[in-house]
Symmetry: C2
Subunit: 282 residues, 2 copies
């Protein structure tokens, strides 16, 4: 075998680049957008650091210290920032990192378009409507916990959506995401062997058929996910998974329940599809 | 009373501007950053529309139709977009709306800095590590449900953090956010009258004291939140709330449990503080 033309194994990263998400608040916006940007460079490996609550020049100096002391063999570090203060931004720039200012430029665009200056205040969560949003989320999360996996049939009439699916198709995390991010009242109900063979939806949810949304997946994926929980069981066998999925999809179709294959989708994507399909978007 | 100089009531919006969050994926990134930007203009009222999965020119034409038919008395609509395709962006521009391209400019900056071209692929959630992240989130959400409000003492030893607080200080939504967004194993435990007066932490969590994080709030806020659940009860009375908060804060201090006042904080902010304090950030 010749070694003169070594093949780079697939998936081996070429370099590791430090990426900092620096915020004067929680860092969530900086992380979300920064990660969305980095996802466009699958060939580069990034070491991510989130630094929230950098709201003073001293705080910025600490970040600069960390950046300078980091091993930058993979290239100049990159700073994604949502900090608004010019002083703090200038300080961060002293690090020598590539600065990606996620808000600044867009704020200038908005100021022009809206004909008013951006507020100087920090943070985003203290406005009017805060406590209403807090109540809505709290109620929604508690509703989701109470109604997880068919545990309670109480108050299904006020549900915004009832997610139905065989075990391990992603009902619970999707339910929780919809509750937490959007304050929606989401119940979920498992389809078990007892529900098949049947033409109609399980009695408990049948009268709320218009609120039902089904999940499905591929037999292979379901088997893989179930194997996590109960290895080498009938429950996780490919035969059982194939059967349950076929029955569930038949049931959805017969009852005109919209459904979605979760096998290649993230919790965020499933939530977005469900909201769109059930017209739950504002 | 003179009517010649009418006073604008505080809090009345001057105009309503349509803001669209348009994405070729879930719309979450566009919403997150778009809302962070809009929060800087508290004097303007916005009517928000999220349009996910706009990944074809036809999809863009539908959005353009909606934008054109919207009542724009409050000014030209604003489109925040994370769409990457130049064709789709051009089509969206036909709407005449102010276009805020949240990714484009930054992608160019990153291409220069990284010395490689951004991938042409859509979406962000289909890479390696996807299924691991999915498993981690699913496990974390299930752990959070099992351990909500002190329901289970099983497997507290593997918790990343145990949130303790009197009822209605924000334990549950914060727990769920940490689980869902970061895959952390979070238990929460209520401090009730039975736990006071006491010098030590409740026995169940005492041996995991190093994992404990406390929440507190203001008596007024707690009374307000409890009133939502049980109006005009002893439970929601200002006297009872004052007492419980004082006792909880004493307990935290005596046991060196770090704690946080949740009264002016969002779930996101509380989560960020807890992660930083407990060194749970990567």
């Amino acid at each position: 075998m010749s070694l003169t033309n070594p093949v780079q194994p697939i998936g081996v990263a070429i370099e590791t680049r430090d990426a900092y998400f620096v915020s004067d608040s929680t860092g969530i916006t900086a992380e979300t957008l920064g990660n969305a940007l980095l996802a466009n460079f699958p060939g580069v490996r990034f070491r991510r650091h989130t630094v929230p609550f950098v709201d003073t020049v001293e705080g910025a100096q600490n970040v600069v210290g960390s950046i300078r002391s980091s091993d930058s063999a993979g290239g100049v570090p990159i700073v994604f920032t949502t900090v608004k203060s010019a002083k703090i931004l200038t300080e961060l720039g002293e690090s020598g990192a590539v600065m990606i200012d996620l808000l600044g430029g867009h704020l200038r665009e908005l100021e022009t378009s809206l004909g008013s200056a951006a507020s100087e205040q920090l943070g985003q969560y203290h406005g009017v409507g805060d406590i209403e949003r807090y109540f809505a989320r709290m109620r929604a999360v508690e509703y989701a916990i109470e109604h997880d996996d068919g545990q309670s049939m109480r108050a299904l009439d006020i549900a915004d959506v009832i997610i139905i699916a065989p075990s391990r198709c992603g009902k619970t995390p999707t339910t929780m995401y919809l509750a937490l991010q959007y304050g929606l009242l989401v119940a979920n109900y498992p389809l078990t062997d007892d529900d098949f063979p049947a033409d109609a939806l399980p009695r408990t949810v049948a009268k709320f058929a218009a609120k039902c949304f089904g999940l499905t997946t591929t037999p292979l994926r379901l088997s893989q996910v179930r194997h996590e929980r109960r290895p080498d069981s009938t429950y996780s066998s490919l035969a059982q998974c194939t059967l349950e999925i076929r029955r569930a999809e038949d049931l959805y179709r017969r009852n005109r329940v919209p459904f979605l294959n979760s096998s290649t989708k993230s919790v965020e994507e499933m939530s977005a599809v469900i909201m769109q399909s059930m017209r739950l978007r504002s």
